[in-house]
Amino acid sequence: MRRNFFCTRSVLFILVAVLLVLAALPLMGLPGYRLRLLSLVFMWVALSGCWNLMSGYTGYIDFGPVAYFGVGSYCTSLLMIKGGFPFFLSILLSGSVCALLALAIGTPTLKLRGAYFAIATFAAAEAMKQIILEWDHMVGFEFFGGAHGLTLPLPPSNEFFYYTLLFFMGLVLGLTALLERSKFGYGLRAIHEAEPAAELAGVPTLTLKVRAYILSSSLIGCIGGVEAYWLTYIIPDDVFNVLRTIQMVVMTLLGGMGTLLGPVIGATFLTLISEFLGAKFIYNYLIFLGIIVVAIIILMPRGIMGAVQRNKGWPP
């Protein structure tokens, strides 16, 4: 039987090697700015990797992942501030809350065709933001802090977040690598390719879709919690900002949906670009992103990795 070079074991091996190299970098003396930049790249690779887990493999476009980012941020913040919980436990709990939320939102919406899921998730994210903004005012009880947001206790060093985000990046990429050649992965891809045919072949489509959504969303929630602690100050407009969704989508789309390296390429590229463009004229950046999306759909729908893989060719 032909051995595929990119079999799971060798991929995981390469991944671990790269992670170890990255882990060693701070120990070799990395300036603060580069440390932060790398941490940011790790975060975005992780976030788009999560988005890819769901949308890239099933083909059901999630337009509301930022909902979970925000929920995770708030959960972690509240647990740490009001509950005095330690950081990692808060992250874990936040992820669980997001999982439950994803179950609630995913189950009714994933039963229907993709358009419904796409817009329902779009609406969910906006709705979540509004709820957090208005809750205190509506209920008359200081909890979420409304538009003022929440302030967290002082965090440890930048190195702490470097390693935490490196961990999450590794986790997401590792899960993706495992998924790619697993039964679960084949099921998701079958759903993407031809859902009715997949059903007839015995694939429990709804169950798998919901599972992927829960996985993706809970991890996004965890990362949201990490960022909250990193920034020490969260406001709804920031943690529920649709720009995060846009970036996750475009990064994965550019790199190639449904591939392991797609999010890595897309996220690294766009994070570096946005850093250099600066936050000054955000709308230029967004116009740029919009044009990228339109161009990719028309010219290169499978993204960079897709274009690369297409040329693998057959017959050998």
């Binding site: 697993s182 039964k183 079958a190 045919a197 997949a198 059903e199 015995g202 694939v203 429990p204 057959w314």
Partner: protein
Amino acid sequence: MAPLSILQCRRLTKRFGALVAVRELSLSLGEGEILGLIGPNGSGKTTFFNVVMGVYPPEEGEIFLRNESLIGKQPHEICHLGIAKTSQIVQPFLGMSVFENVLVAALYGADLSLAQARDEVEEVLDLMGLFSWRDAPAGKLTVSGRRRLELAKALATGAEILLLDETMAGLNPRELEEGLELLRKIRDRGATLILVEHIMRAVMGISDRVIVLNYGVKIAEGTPQEVTENPEVVEAYLGKRHAGNRPN
């Protein structure tokens, strides 16, 4: 001795708005038999298959697989219970290789582990003559190749009842013979088949029994010989004028 009846439909009715696609269809499928299902276009054959597979819920009637009711079950559940269907308009998983296409069916339909599934897929591909194409992207197959892939997937689910919707369409005589041989082999492996075909020679040559539908209603049932001599059948296909002749 009559074969054990494994699939039973009683007064099955499926409506799409005002259109009655299948009207009070009752049939019984015996274990190990090849049942031909024929009828003019639009007579409800494909709809019948879709109802059995749970794609559409019927308005009235019952379907039993051995003693288990299929009404209200999802297609993937019905697949697990042992029925698989090929579609008239084949839908391969285009972005995946031929091997991976069949692998999905073996993993999920037959509920095998990855290792077991891989073995099963190789066996099925061999049987279907697709082994040399195993790494090809499914999109590169010819029409007849895609049909064989569709059949391979249905086989790989491990289903005991196969509903085959026009798998022989568009084949030349040699391919047709090979196809029929294949079906016989599949039956000998232990499957029970319901065949929907327009190519009379194919259906009549291989079926143990034939059921004829017209406008969703069963108008004849019997051996191929009995059915071709039935004037109502001839009329359905060729119109009243030809009711005295036999179709070939």
